[in-house]
Amino acid sequence: MREIHVDRVKEEVARLLREANYELPPDVAAALEEARAREESPVGRQVLEELAENARIAREERIPLCQDTGFAVVFLEVGQDVHLVGGSLTEAVNAGVRDAYVGGYLRKSILDHPWLGTNTGDNTPAVIHTEIVPGDRVRVRVLPKGGGSENKSALAMLRPADGLEGAKAFVLETVRRAGPDACPPFVVGVGIGGTFDLVAYLAKKAILRPLGHHHPRPEVAELERELYHEIQKLGIGPQGLGGRVTALWVAVEIFPRHIASFPVAVNIQCHSARSKEGLI
């Protein structure tokens, strides 16, 4: 049994959230660069150039890539041979969020109640997903998720008769509706299977997969390629001003399904696809 003080988790969450908001991940920067090379629309190319310049300024001057520094979504994979000591894990994560958002000049965007709410002032609480995994490490992944693209995400409980074709149509319709509003080009996270709650989680986890890495199962990788090409045909383009590049990447995660259900979830991620991971 390895003892880890929860303060280590707090510090890691704080560090990762700051870095995520100031530095575009290299895979996303590379995807935007590649998009610029193949975009035919002049205004689309200019937008992609401005996004590259934006990323450079944010990194060098340590200011956020986007003013919407997100809901702090934190994924913890806790090794089953780890003993967390020194206090509550949830409190430690929230303390990390507080440090990052208050000390890092990140925007506080969280209201403490859905309709009676006032701003919590420190961007807490985080949305925390915890999995227990083999080993004696703690893997921390953060995803500061902006509201604009989250608002355009959608979930459908399709009929089994609708099947894979129905799922594809739902993904395309969701991206079409997101259109110019959700800051394209997008990373599109898709979940298929499981239950109502799990399918949304699968779609969110799909966003975390590094761009350029297909699902290991060949039929899922094939679906990712097909959706990617179909999405580009929508013509939405950078910022929705029309163009060839509407998606930077499509990632699909699957799970077994009930004989009566065919759940599909689409989590739209804007081009400012911020995430960062660390290992304790």
Partner: protein, 179 residues
């Protein structure tokens, strides 16, 4: 274009035109819109004179030491659709945001001779360089949703909806859609 905007200059703008705004512009987003329009409907005197003004849909991140604001890119405009015709009736001539507007807003833009422009969403660090000063003017308790006056210099945007009813998003997407 210098703010406050002149009617004739606004009427000449066409979807696809690139505009550089200079002068003072107001920020307002969800909560500020709700409060302003509720005050209007209650018949209260409005705390702002919006004639000829530009409203920028933005909630900047906090200003680090030595800067007037943090990142300051546009937020999704569609959320303000229910309030926009009321503000246009007060004489607002320009709006900066990102994303599509409702049919009702597009009609109100035509009726009031105003334009809707998009700035690049997600370019908050880049756009903050065009902001010289930020002065809180209303609803400071709303934090990032408070109304500020921003002094901008060459703030870049592109006209999406003009007074003739053109829509740059529809035109652009139709040009590149396949199948």
């Amino acid at each position: 274009m210098l703010t406050p905007l002149e009617d004739e200059a606004v009427r000449r703008l066409r979807a696809g035109d690139r505009v550089l705004f200079s002068g003072w512009i107001y920020t307002a987003r969800d909560a500020a819109h709700r409060r302003l329009v509720e005050a209007m409907r209650a018949g209260e005197p409005l705390p702002l004179d919006l004639r000829g003004q530009v409203i920028y849909y933005v909630g900047p991140s906090p200003a680090p030491p030595g800067r007037p604001v943090g990142a300051a890119g546009p937020t999704t405009a569609g959320r303000m659709d229910p309030y926009t015709p009321a503000l246009l009736s007060l004489g607002v001539k320009g709006i900066i945001g990102k994303g599509r507007r409702s049919e009702e807003v597009r009609r109100a833009l035509i009726a009031h001779g105003a334009v809707y422009c998009a700035a690049v969403g997600g370019a908050g660090a880049l756009l903050s360089r065009r902001i010289r000063r930020a002065e809180p003017v209303l609803y400071e308790e709303l934090g990032p949703e408070a109304v500020y006056l921003l002094e901008v210099e060459g703030f870049p945007a592109i006209v999406v909806n003009d007074i003739l009813g053109n829509d740059l998003y529809e035109e652009g997407i139709a040009r590149y859609r396949r199948g």
